[in-house]
Subunit: 320 residues, 2 copies
Amino acid sequence: MPIFHTAGDLECMHQVCHRSLEAAGVTRNDICAVTFGYHLFIAGLFYQGQLETYGAKVIPVGPGETDRAVDIINRHGVTVLVANPSFALKLGSSGMNRIKILFAGGEPLTSVSGYKDRIRQALGRDLVIIDSYSMSECIPIARNCAMETGLHIMDEFVYAEIIDPETGKNLENGRMGELVLTHIKKEAQPLLRYRTGDLAELVETPCNCGRHVTMPRGISGRTGEMLKVKGVKLYPSQIKTIINEHGTGTGFRLTIRSEKGVDRLILTLEDIPGARPKLKNLRHALRKATLLNFDEIAFRGHLEEGPMVSDERDVLSSTL
Amino acid sequence: MPIFHTAGDLECMHQVCHRSLEAAGVTRNDICAVTFGYHLFIAGLFYQGQLETYGAKVIPVGPGETDRAVDIINRHGVTVLVANPSFALKLGSSGMNRIKILFAGGEPLTSVSGYKDRIRQALGRDLVIIDSYSMSECIPIARNCAMETGLHIMDEFVYAEIIDPETGKNLENGRMGELVLTHIKKEAQPLLRYRTGDLAELVETPCNCGRHVTMPRGISGRTGEMLKVKGVKLYPSQIKTIINEHGTGTGFRLTIRSEKGVDRLILTLEDIPGARPKLKNLRHALRKATLLNFDEIAFRGHLEEGPMVSDERDVLSSTL
């Protein structure tokens, strides 16, 4: 589906970002390098436009060619980098000088626990990392500020709600559910209670930057993949996040069986040499995140090709 | 060398192009596809910006992925394509629907005789082809209008002169020489009688589009490579253009010898099967363009590696 923006929309989208650039600590004197591409994925254009209209200095570095990018960044005293997190790490390990602020996009960051720490280890302890969340239908949606208290919803541009993906009912703050968006000012293709299919939780706490509505943990998964196990909603992508945090591989197979009318939850993980997490810790983390007790956690040297989730329950019993 | 633009410069650069977009026949209803990239080569950003502020609809297609580009162009009724000429031909042969206007850049076009005809054969007889000339130090410089009377200098933005590259003296209109540019409005890094190193000729003829100063044949070569043969200035890159127009390959070797104090000009061309031009026509074209009589024109199956120009004259005699 093509996404339309009027000239007014583009101006509004840039203006909305100015508050967030300020809250990130960007000044008009900063020299910014944008490493996204020019493409249907409009992140590059969008950062170029918002930084230009904000009044900062922008170098359109573009994607790829790590060594040249490092050379440009170091030679011109770049202080603000716009990149996806993995490319930022690559630039760091290729000799990039210290930067002040990283605007990250294009990959999960806040939702992967420990990822920000890893970036700071590589790029500098005092680095401000700004994670963002957008989708092609709605850009921008949320960014954190320099205080990193969670991704603030850009609430003068978009109104966010969390609903139960099954019932469609609104959920109170702090409950995980499907993010629903309504545009406030958009002229072309405004979204009206648009179901994003993304799982998140909202909290409403005043932040010193002036924002109130925040997604503290970013996006935790997709609603389409929800299962009901032992009466509890389970999103398999949550598991991927957790096992990744525990330093193992991300390959897994979730098997759900019904034994005497009771659900059994079996998790099989790829056994990567030297990267086997402590079972006790992993079980605890899984329980905390999903509210479910995993009956069996097993390691296997190599997982055969197949679905990530294998629901072997009787269809009738599983829908009871 | 980095090139700086202030916010005012960017706005001015976009505004300057509006007159040329209008003269090309672009309307606010046109749907434009830009196939350049986002990079230090700012053509993509520049077309996106000028078309957006002009008020036309722009799709940031980006480079590569021919089939997807064709699909987007056809599905959304694109009428204006921004591409380099060879990519436009590739899109044409991959099933692109008729377009109305092609903005070409990034490759020589007007200076290669017959290239526009080839593009029209592939993309449609009534296609308006807009060639442009810019350099990183100065963008934009010149574009033709829908009448295709030559590349009009954007004279409210840049003042163009032609000088003799040896003496630095100004040449009258219609004489080939080095293009020298002076910015009229630029705030950051304005050029003041900047020697481009590019060879061109200017004519001053009022065009129906309102412009006066025109480069009828685009850029014919570079000044750095000039030789003096038989008392006449010769730019070897001119030869490349001419032999290309005569349907042979572009590989050549130019040898200049001194025999009894007289220069002899020997041109060796790669002999491409089925593409050997008529010697008489070629000799005539070379003479017309360079004012020089070529003493010998030979074909050889394969040209060994080596310099394009081999000046075997005695240094002393050649400087006499």
